[in-house]
Chain length 441, copies 3
């Protein structure tokens, strides 16, 4: 399995190729993913094909959602999906799939593409049935990928036990706390995991304190949240918030203005905890959830592009000691993040997220970041992966654009030495994420 060279053969420019090969040889430090640390790599090819990119793209191309119903037999589900892949084989997401098949399963797609005729072969190769096989496979994918560490997305009531947290780094995901506090399941989970009553704003703060204690003691490196495009990160009137929060914690209905105040108050409180526990607060700004309810799982969210970081300036001002690594969902909002990271010391430009994660958008955005954001404040990339196998092709995709940009603009365009350009690359790929998420240690 020769993974470091993935892409190298299709880079015709010698300088770009040299830069790419060096960058691709570095261990990967991946500061955001959805990996399950109990089953990091796929046990069945269905878990690869089940990545929402493939189900949603195939569904968008006409595949009935029933064909990938979670209740189906996994092999059948894979066969079903395989029949629709020819409609999406132009996409960059499909290229990750073929690269996984090539690198991890020795699959030669040149003569026979991934599809109905080949899916069983691939399925058989990817099957890891026994725990021993699965563990060996996790190690193999980890090693082939050259992973150093990968950050997780942990529910607030995750016990965080049973894995090596220096490899699989816990992160506290707080969407439910901020956006769904008024759902009985949320307060119930909060009470269960903290063994605290959590009846009011004070109880909520106590419970959050327990969570932060637990997460930090288990090696958590970030608090994270995704926020809708109209969220206003303003300092809440805490006195006014007391009653709505009490109502929310008891599952009582809230008026829209109360619901907004509850969200803002919990969010602001989390920022205070991030400050006190020296945790970066990842803000992933933009998604509208369930815009397309009839979509497949994971493929129902979109965004409203009318969004601005100006709605966050009060937060950035009030918490100068909290680092805010920021991802924006709307591709056309990317230039604004460049400007905010250029001005605010605590705003970090973080990766290329989801609908923005296309080479077409990355090329200009990365150039702009490297042209105007201090090099200490750019986190080049994260995988956002659900299964380990995806980390490699996604990082290679980014690293290739990075090599092209550095070759063209910095080495050729600005006369930098290759060493200096590689120093800049190392900074954004490794030094920065390791330092920014080190909690000041």
């Amino acid at each position: 399995m020769s993974a470091a060279l993935l892409h190298a053969d299709t880079i015709s420019d010698a300088l770009t190729r040299r830069l790419f090969e060096v960058i691709a040889s570095w261990p990967i430090y991946d500061p955001h993913s959805h990996i399950n640390p109990h089953a990091p790599a796929a046990r069945r090819f269905d878990e690869i094909l089940g990545y929402h990119y493939y189900t949603e793209l195939a569904h968008s191309a006409g595949m009935p959602a029933e064909l990938v119903d979670p209740a189906l037999d996994p092999r059948q589900r894979s066969r079903n999906l395989a029949g629709w892949l020819d409609r999406i084989d132009n996409t960059v997401q499909f290229s990750w799939l073929t690269e996984i098949a090539r690198v991890f399963h020795g699959f030669d797609d040149v003569h026979a593409p991934i599809g109905p005729d080949t899916i069983d072969l691939l399925y058989d190769h990817a099957l890891k049935e026994s725990p021993a096989e699965a563990n060996a496979w996790d190690d193999r994918v980890w090693t082939t990928t050259g992973l150093e560490a990968v950050f997780l997305t942990n529910d607030f009531d995750d016990p965080l036990e049973g894995w090596d947290t220096s490899r699989y780094v816990p992160c506290l995901r707080t969407d439910d706390l901020v956006l769904k506090l008024d759902r009985p399941t949320t307060s119930e989970r909060l009470r269960n995991t903290t063994n605290l009553p959590v009846e009011d704003i004070e109880g909520l703060k106590n419970a959050l304190g327990v969570l932060f204690d637990r997460f930090v003691s288990k090696g958590a490196r970030a608090c994270a949240i995704s926020l809708p495009p109209d969220f206003q990160a303003v300092a809440p009137d805490v006195t006014r918030a007391a009653t709505p929060i009490r109502r929310a914690l008891h599952g009582l209905e809230l008026r829209p203005d109360e619901a907004r105040l509850v969200q803002q108050t919990v969010f602001w409180t989390l920022a205070q905890f991030c400050r006190d526990y020296r945790l970066p607060f990842d803000l992933m700004i933009g998604p509208r959830r369930d815009v397309y309810p009839a979509g497949v799982a994971g493929g129902r969210d979109l965004y409203d592009r009318r969004v601005s970081l100006h709605d966050y300036h009060e937060l950035f001002n009030q918490f100068p000691d909290v680092t805010f690594p920021i991802s924006t969902l709307a591709p056309d909002a990317a230039p604004e993040l460049v400007s905010y990271a250029w001005i605010f010391p605590n705003v970090v430009a973080m990766g290329h997220w989801w609908y923005s994660n296309l080479p077409a958008f990355i090329a200009t955005d990365l150039r702009a970041k490297l042209q105007a954001v201090p090099q200490t404040k750019i986190v080049g990339y994260y995988s956002d992966a659900y299964k380990l196998e995806f980390i490699l092709p996604k990082f290679r995709m980014f690293q290739r654009v990075l090599a092209e940009v550095l070759a063209e603009d910095w080495v050729r365009g600005r006369g930098w030495s290759e060493e200096r350009a590689l120093g800049l690359a190392e900074r954004i790929m490794r030094t920065n994420p390791k330092r920014l998420f080190a909690r000041g240690e």
Copy 2:
């Protein structure tokens, strides 16, 4: 007349040129235009120069609007405009003009540009006075362009008679019905063309049914509308709409909220007819009409860039069986369409429209579409032309960008064969528009 090679001599990269030459050799299937089927090609060069791009750009460059007054003698109008062309000869729109002169009129602009000194020569060459001459010219332009079919934009009361509808494909344009129902002329036209009273919402539905029957029986392939940037495509309260619709149909004044409700109700009703008649519903989103009232005809509309497809999600959800080919006017809104076409099965990314129809914008947008939208859901291009002559240079402009993108990113960058890349090109240029507008036949 060698049209297929237009552009080929200025493509220096051999691979790009090979791809371009193949793509340019295919018959053109043009799914949106404003061609007049009774006089498709220009009878006078004034009809070429009268394209709003030239009059509005020249006017923007300082030409008084009176110089292109419709009441002037056509030759004089052309002479007047010719005196201002040197101010706009940098534009891509001007390049279409020289290409038309070259390809269709044997005009060599290298030694003498189109301008005051040459306009009479060109005018004389382009003059087609007799019906026989005109018909022969229509055929010649059609053949030289390699046209297979071109879609029209027909008023709802167009009798749709007198031409070959397999070549000139009718499309029902519905702006007046949705946005101007309260103008007496609209209801008057509706009554005249349907011979129905059209007094209330039921009468309106009956009349629309007559229109859909007529259009579909005449081979219509799409319903189309352009919508302002603040239009909200939400399900109307039809009960509440009854009175305002009655008032609108009788030319009575409407409050703003009533006017909005009328628009939403007619729009929603059209979507229902599109579903029932299996017609795609082209949405052309963004224009603000008459922003510059002192402009020349066709050159008065602009847009407000604060627009989002999120305002249409209820429509996409409620009409899963209707195909919505979508064009966005604001260039910076293009990435959002990529995302929505990637998720919603019934959203199709359609061409590059008007203010977005510049190679500078097409390059990134096309890359993004090809990287993230299922290949079955991209309609590469349409001409939006008013005269047949424009179809060729506009398509060549796009095809050239397409060849560049495929050469650079798919063949070189991803290692695809040229055949496979051309397969993708054929899909978006021919297969998709022919299938998507086939009404499921």
Copy 3:
């Protein structure tokens, strides 16, 4: 000092290099800056390093604001900042700094970068202590840069005396009048500089008349203002505005709607004076002031990207005889300016401003302008500089992108001769700004 060749050695394409060398040989006509005509070039290197780009980027990279406190000894301030430059040496702004050091101070940064070890050497070289030395240095920088004229930004109460206004061209900056009329200092300054009472709207108009008389008689070429993203340029109800304006002029508090009306009224009145005095009205649209109050001087402003030129259409319509050179701050708003300049005769696309002034954004924006805006209505670039030394590296940065775009798209892509491409370049770099700001003379 060989400045014309700055950048030429890093342009590998021969055609681009030839175009660049010609463009770079032309005298620079710079239609917007913040140069102090009494001390145009830097007397100390601290004035170079003190440009807000360096202090704000270093501050964003972690430097405490105290290290560049204006009260510090200038040499110490430079030493302090020098220690943080390695964190921002990737930025294009840093490249201007090294270019200044190279071109104007013979500083060889290849073997020793600008930093703690070299700052004293550079500081000593740049020190101009006596008035004679300073004057000679102004001349030398002027000559090396090949400057023909540079526009200033003058407060409305600037006496405009003591310099050659054909070289340093006065421009009336009106932010304070429009946005801060209700501050006692503003009305006070207005009374002092006009010797008029200025008690009401009529008094205000009289005072503005005095200012316009003075500025025009001193050779002013433009009126300029920067406006926040939510400013609405609509015709005010002048009758309703009378009382709020009187209150503002007496320092009384205004309700938000009154404050807005006062701003709109003063703005509209300025547009009338621009019409009457035939002065272009530079609109610089977008900044939100003091978004980051703890930032360094000049580094506290950002923007809200939700902005549209549609909010200005009434202005453009009402003042057809006023030229509006427009700069947009949000990079993603650039395409809208292309469209508005393409339609409105009085809208001119002006340069690349502040957060938009990065090659990554300029490349696409410049292509779009050159593809769709009449060539007579594009003002290629302005420096926005505070010290003369910055004009050269900033113009070279732009000229390089211009040469690349012309080589690739116009000479190679469209088959233009180099002469013709250079004609287009000369138009946007020299002919247009000289003509558009000539007040119709």
